[in-house]
Symmetry: C2
Subunit: 297 residues, 2 copies
């Protein structure tokens, strides 16, 4: 019987949604700041990063219980990053996930602060909940390190800074573009997978394989986004195409569609190879990689 990835994703997304609802309850959002935070965190999108965190944990120990607070933290950090990325001074996006961008509803100042709060609270919430679940302080600190390094000036923020320069600058090589995607997108996907695996007790060898898996699906994910921006038929793609006039460099603009698709397939296959020889069922992580390659939005 084949593995039902849609069912798996729905179930895990539900678990993440419920935990985030508990951590950041919408009905307790009294101030404008809190309303701005819950506006972007609920209902959210695919919840890709937290689902990867849970799936990696399950791959190692069969359970995702310990990983859940880390899964919520990476989603909070992802949400902060899209609130800030959408700001007029950054990508200047008016919509996000089919509704007005945070700053279009709450104003730039509150949106900036909501992002700041989500980033900061990710660390306090995660440490508090993991301690309460009895996870060892050593392990919690390791997870804090992995996530903060992936998100900071040597990871996601650097990637976003590179991305801004790509909009302006001179011609970039395909390696420079791949490196930007590694920083901007893959590092946090990697931190999601590794934190889940660490909290499940993964060994160093397993972590190395999962690091390789997640870097590859992370870069493939971003290239796939570029492809969908060009080939997609929905409003977002339309909007992206209009913006592409200003934005010079993406993987697709340098490599053409066919070569880009081939690269996504190659990276996905390489990622899946890394999942061999784990003791538990690798189906979820494998099928997530395939789903990301095949997705149409």
């Amino acid at each position: 019987m084949s593995f039902d990835i849609r069912n798996y994703l729905d179930k895990r997304k539900e678990i993440v949604d419920r935990a985030l609802w508990e951590y950041l309850p919408p009905d307790e959002a009294k101030t404008k700041l809190q309303q701005s935070i819950v506006y972007s965190i609920h209902p959210g999108g695919k919840r890709l990063r937290p689902v990867l965190c849970l799936a990696a944990s399950e791959l190692i120990c069969g359970s995702h219980k310990n990983a859940l607070p880390a899964a919520c933290a990476v989603e909070m950090i992802h949400t902060y990053s899209i609130i800030h990325d959408d700001l007029p001074s950054m990508d200047d996006d008016d919509t996000r996930r089919g509704k007005p961008a945070n700053h279009r509803v709450f104003g730039e100042a509150v949106a900036t602060l909501a992002g700041d709060a989500l980033l900061t609270d990710a660390f306090s919430l995660m440490t508090e909940k993991l301690l309460k679940q009895g996870v060892s302080p050593e392990l919690i600190l390791r997870v804090v390190s992995v996530i903060s390094e992936a998100a900071g000036s040597k990871g996601m923020v650097l990637g976003q800074a590179f991305d801004l320069e790509m909009d302006e600058g001179e011609h970039l090589s395909v390696n420079e573009i791949s490196n930007t995607y590694l920083m901007k997108t893959a590092k946090m996907i990697e931190a999601s997978v590794l934190s889940g695996a660490m909290l499940a007790g993964a060994g160093e060898e397993e972590l190395l394989r999962l690091k390789s898996y997640s870097e590859k699906i992370g870069i493939a994910f971003q290239i796939k986004d570029d492809i969908l921006d060009v080939t997609g038929s929905d409003d977002t793609a339309q909007e992206s195409r209009e913006k592409a006039g200003a934005k010079k460099h993406t993987y697709v603009s340098v490599m053409e569609i066919q070569a880009s698709k081939a690269k996504v397939s190659e990276l996905t296959n390489q990622a899946i190879v890394e999942l061999e020889s784990f003791p538990k069922d690798p189906n979820p992580l494998r099928e997530i990689a395939v789903w990301l390659r095949e997705r149409e939005e």
Copy 2:
């Protein structure tokens, strides 16, 4: 012989400056993002928060060695907060510490990212350095909690959101203004003092007294800022007075100068009382409180 507070502050500031120089070396700032980060972190201002962190540690154990990474982290978080506060959508300040604000030099997008990076890196740097110094993971986690809670949506960021509303909204009571100052300023001053004391091994009773001390000097610090904005003669005060036309509510606008000065003195005296009965020399923390009350800039 009286305690030489100026000499104490200079020496401790030098220690903080040197550590921050080592953590964020200006000559290794190759990318625009890194240049934006070091532009705001060096040379810095009074370094009040990190100096308080070191002084609190010395009060408990006579040394500030373990506290130094936490001191740098609170300064990085303070620096992120002023970069974001100066943005056009927030306080819209063109200058900071006698030079152009970060966003005036690097643009709004890079300034936003530099703030994001400083906030995130504060957590990774602090955990890495404290672990290397042999501090117990339990204690490091406690410090991460104290600092992230003070900085997040129930602390500094909430205070900044309240502050924005003060610029717009209806009449505020003196209690509402004090509460904003507690969130916006005093919480991070409290986290600076408490993290230093915790890393020096303070007991719960000592932490409670220091919490009270730092809340009081934190609120007094912000009221003193309001007073200087009105009475000061330098360019900053001039600029602040011009802005005050738009900005309706400060402590001084509600309470008048004399009552505000009396409040600063009262809070300072109450703070100093909390320093009685510590085994080590309370002179540094006491004289910092006095210096903050007396300062002219």
